[in-house]
Symmetry: C2
Subunit: 166 residues, 2 copies
């Protein structure tokens, strides 16, 4: 798909972001992955069995108590390389433009990703996990225990999405 001089592809729609932020985020650590550029990243996390490392800043180390008892975690991280102003977008591997909130693209008003990972081990303030597809060095903003009772909906469907496409 062709891009114009601003990197906007056909069918994409830019929105005007507010003049000021409403709240502030602390980076609480960094994620280390094998992928140094966007092109190297797996198209989605299921395609990779790579063990990635989450380094939590020392000031938050105590907050990791009991995390080692979780089989899976929900990680929130900040996709700091992504633009934030597209309402409709056409990711490279999809055929047509769709609304930002119907996509998991990094491009969104708040470039926060939510990924379910399998926890391999905890050593001090470092977690080894499987299930990420982000760039090396991505800032971490939260770690949550994954509760199957509320977080797992195996029969959920995304109508616009043909499984063959993903």
């Amino acid at each position: 798909m062709t891009e114009d001089q601003f990197g906007i592809r056909e069918g994409e729609v830019v929105l005007e972001l507010p003049k000021a932020f409403d709240a502030g985020v602390y980076y609480i650590g960094r994620i280390h992955t094998p992928w140094a550029s966007r092109d190297e990243c797996p198209k989605n996390a299921r395609e990779s069995a790579a063990v990635c490392t989450v380094e939590v800043d020392a000031r938050y180390a105590l907050a990791l108590q009991n995390v080692q008892t979780c089989s899976h975690l929900l990680l929130l991280y900040w996709m700091d390389k992504a633009r934030r102003d597209l309402a409709v977008q056409a990711p490279r591997h999809y055929s047509e433009p769709r609304g930002t909130f119907a996509l998991r693209s990094p491009v969104r008003p708040n470039p926060i990703a939510a990924s379910v990972v399998r926890l391999i081990r905890v050593e001090g303030a470092r977690l080894s996990v499987v299930g990420l597809d982000c760039l090396d060095g991505t800032p971490l903003i939260d770690i949550k225990p994954y509760f199957a009772s509320t977080d797992a909906v195996p029969d959920a469907t995304v109508g616009w999405h043909g499984d063959a496409q993903r």
Copy 2:
């Protein structure tokens, strides 16, 4: 459990937050629920079948294209009433203190909640959903399609958590 003059319960540990934020968040809408105070909120979302309303700001309306084809969504919202500086905490309904990152408590360095909701309908920039447990007026920060293929892990476990407790 008793609280000291700063609202800290026995066994809780305060951490020193950084002096400055690393990134900024836009509120993209508001969530309307039946619950005006923390005490009224369901202890967790499974306990409620209440239909809640998500009002997305007009500037982001186009970004909702194709969302109506999703059976479930992952909503991220900002728990703006919560303190952010506890490393170890003792939520009222649990027996002992645990690390913040092993809990889904609103109290965390970045007070972002992630909730899976069932989408009932979309009317303009307003979504009706089931599965929330937050305060009325809570700021919304993201809407994502829920993909069972990557987001659903039905056999995930949280070791510290006895199901009877939740």
